[in-house]
Amino acid sequence: MNWAIAIFQTVLFVALAPLLASFLKFCKCRLQNRRAPSFLQPYRDLLKLTRKQPVISQDASWLFCVAPYIIFTMMILAATVIPLIAVDMPTSESADVIVLVGFFAFARFFLALAGLDIGTAFGGMGSSREMTISSLAEPAMLMAVFTITMTASNTDLSGAIHHILNEGATLHPSFVFALFALILVAVAETGRIPVDNPTTHLELTMIHEAMILEYSGRHLALIEWASQLKLMLYGVLIANLFFPWGIAQSFTIGALSFALVALVLKLIVLSVFLALAETVVAKMRLFRVQEYLGFAYLLGLLGMLSHIILESTR
């Protein structure tokens, strides 16, 4: 039974990811006084791409063709770790938050390799930028997540969520720091404005898009889907880790459906905030990203320090 719900949760994760992307797009369009495309558009795009034959450069090695599958698989594995509507899944017991960061790193490693593999200038450029950014983002993310797990004395996400739910709505200064750190990292890692622009056509400014410029057909579909999934993973991670109320602690239909409604509401709030932020700021100069992520790391560090100083003595 538990396994069935775990699998159902993962399937839900993968299936809803394009919907989140289209809702975000909807918010952005409305903020720009435009009409938005249908909520189903990302699904139609994915369907269209899977029907198309991928065009592969003659210089591409096997790595280029395998990378989309690896990346997509990694994102699905990551989706099994993060509690979506219920905690205490058998899947999330087998892996903790450090493994989760590992899944992301593994996917990125292959994406960067694929960018280099075809030997175009843009691919190499994108890979180099991606690695620069991730080398700064990963420590900041770990720092933020460690602050939470230290409070719970447990690196397992379900454990951390339980701990927070049991404590009730108490305000931890360290959580506030960690929350902002994680939001900054999430924006950088999912390639959103002001770090990267997912909708640009300007090759020279791209980071994520530069690496996948040569992908087409079903390969592109998998990569697009994987990045939508990544956005959702970060969204759910932030929503459920810092605001876990509503998540199902027992596997009854009532609790699960209530958890789903709560999750949707949380994600709607997050998307609106993200869309608002993306509308009012322009993209940073590339060399500002290190200051930005340095700041995220600093917040993470402050969170941990305030945890040690203020909270752990109790």
Binding site: L31, Q32, T200, H201, E203, T205, A282, K283
Partner: protein, 526 residues
């Protein structure tokens, strides 16, 4: 005109003898011996004359080589004659960097060798025709020798750089966005641009060749298609040259309407550019709003005059559509509406610090570099180049109004952004004045009677398009047909300045630098 006398005396001292004549109040034609071609440029350079245009034409077994210079609104069209059997002339590109690509274009099209030219590579020719063929010579057929597949242009040698960590980024000619084709070759260390080299010519359409033998009406239509976003100004320049050659004066009413067209074109393009600059730094809100305003503006064009970009609304001798009482009311309310919208929108853009961070100091073009390359229009004006044809060499209807030139001296993207905004405001005032003048004017003809120009008569049309000064040269053959048409789009000079403006910027800032120049590929490649 005392400086001209001093200039002429200095030329005489250098044993350069000049035959002078006049084409129009602001344009003189000077003829010199071909061997003094470079020496003239040296002295002109000392006199701080701006090199404005260079072209050639074939007349029987002779080539006429032209160079156009300007200072303070006075133009000198310099001419030298050489034989087809020995097509050689000293280069002016050694003195004026701005002449570089123009001379290479002339070499590709006519086979005229510019002696001691600093860069002997081809420019417009991309293997579509043989190196020994020269399309603008009379013995070259209009249809050319089209091959099924154009061979790759493999032996064009780009500037190389070597060293640890230096790498090359080839971009284009096919881009991910919907823009014109052009190739950019970057040398970079990390993200820092060491050198940028442009390779253009991918949109060569043979405009100059297919102009030959056209009727004046046909040429006006062709000129509108030199660069689609500048159809009004290019048509105007070509018509002005033809009218000059034929000695036709256009009715005052037509001149005012032409002025309205040109300023409406300027506003439409500037609105688009303001938005596009913001879009290149991912500030989509401003982009969407500006595109909306541009769209409304273009729709008004369609409603009032029958074409969104006012293409072919200027015709030889006048204009094709009148401004009625209802039209002028619409024009004025359109301006008020735009003014109100911009008053709402611009503070949001001005006060956005993230946008400021991207636009200020980026893509710096120093006033010296701008002057060196003869940079025109908003690019020049953002770098302190205080020049505007409408004010300095005014033509009807600008001779009847006071033109205020928008000027900035920071030379960065923000300067080019705000010069555009100031020009929008200035243009709205101009349109208003033109409309008011039109209302005073009795109804009358829109087109002057055409007189068939004498064989060999020529004219030089100089107007200020939205990108800056446009120079069009037209010579007539017998029976009212065109012998030679050469349009000099401002992009031809601004492109080279872009190569310098991006130095010391980082690679991901190039697109927004490029957009702030927004040079025309089509107008450059002809």
């Amino acid at each position: 005109m005392s400086w001209q006398n001093v200039f002429l005396t200095q030329l005489n001292e250098a044993d350069i003898f000049v035959k002078t004549g006049s084409i129009s109040p602001f344009v003189e034609i000077w003829e010199i011996d071909d061997k003094h071609w470079q020496d003239f440029a040296k002295i002109a350079f000392e006199f701080k004359l701006r090199w404005a245009a260079g072209f050639a034409e074939q007349i029987d077994d002779q080539f006429h080589v032209y160079a156009c210079f300007e200072t303070a609104g006075n133009y000198i069209l310099l001419r030298a004659t050489i034989n087809v059997s020995k097509p050689e002339i000293p280069s002016q590109a050694t003195v004026y960097a701005a002449a570089n690509r123009s001379e290479r274009h002339t070499h590709d099209m006519f086979g005229i060798t510019f002696l001691n030219h600093p860069d002997p590579r081809c420019w417009t020719r991309h293997k579509v025709w043989k190196k020994s063929d020269h399309p603008l010579r009379h013995d070259f057929p209009v249809q050319g020798f089209p091959a099924d597949v154009t061979p790759p242009d493999t032996d064009y040698h780009f500037v190389q750089s070597h060293g640890v960590g230096v790498y090359e980024i080839p971009v284009g000619p096919v881009h991910a966005g919907i823009i014109e084709p052009g190739h950019f070759r970057f040398q970079a260390v990390g993200e820092l641009i060491l050198n940028l080299e442009e390779r253009l010519g991918y949109v060569h359409k043979g405009t100059e060749k297919i102009a030959e033998g056209r009727s004046p009406e046909g040429l006006a239509k062709l000129a509108a298609r030199v660069s689609g976003d500048t159809c009004v100004s290019h048509t105007w320049a070509a018509c002005m040259a033809m009218e000059q050659a034929a000695g036709v004066e256009i009715p005052k009413r037509a001149a005012l309407i032409r002025g309205i067209f040109a300023e409406r074109e300027r506003i439409a393009n500037h609105l688009g550019d303001l938005g596009a600059i913001c879009n290149d730094v991912a500030f989509a809100f401003a982009f969407m709003q500006m595109m909306r305003l541009k769209e409304l503006w273009c729709r008004s064009n369609y409603e009032l005059f029958g074409h969104r970009f006012l293409m072919d609304k200027i015709i030889v001798g006048g204009v094709a559509v009148d401004v009625t009482e209802a039209t002028s009311k619409f024009l004025l309310s359109d301006i008020e509406q735009l003014r109100a919208e911009l008053a709402d929108l611009m503070p949001a853009i001005d006060l956005n610090s993230s946008l400021e961070d991207r636009l200020y100091t980026a893509g710096y073009l120093s006033p010296e570099t701008a002057a060196h390359f003869g940079t025109l229009g908003f690019v020049g004006r953002a770098s302190g180049q205080n020049f505007d044809v409408r004010r300095d060499a005014p033509y009807a209807p600008y001779d009847s109004v006071k033109v205020k030139v928008a000027l900035e001296d920071q030379g960065d993207i923000a300067s080019r952004f705000w010069v555009r905004y100031k020009e929008i405001n200035a243009s709205m005032k101009l349109i208003k004045q033109f409309v008011e003048q039109l209302e005073q004017l009795p109804e009358g003809d829109l087109v002057a009677n055409w007189k068939t120009p004498e064989t060999g008569s020529y004219g030089l049309g100089i107007v200020d398009g939205w990108r800056g000064e446009i120079i069009s040269y037209v010579r007539f053959a017998e029976n009212n047909t065109i012998a030679r048409f050469y349009p000099r789009d401002p992009s031809q000079l601004n492109w080279e300045a872009l190569e310098k403006a991006v130095l010391n910027n980082i690679v991901p800032d190039f697109p927004v630098c490029n957009k702030s120049f927004n040079c025309s590929y089509s107008g450059n490649d002809l």
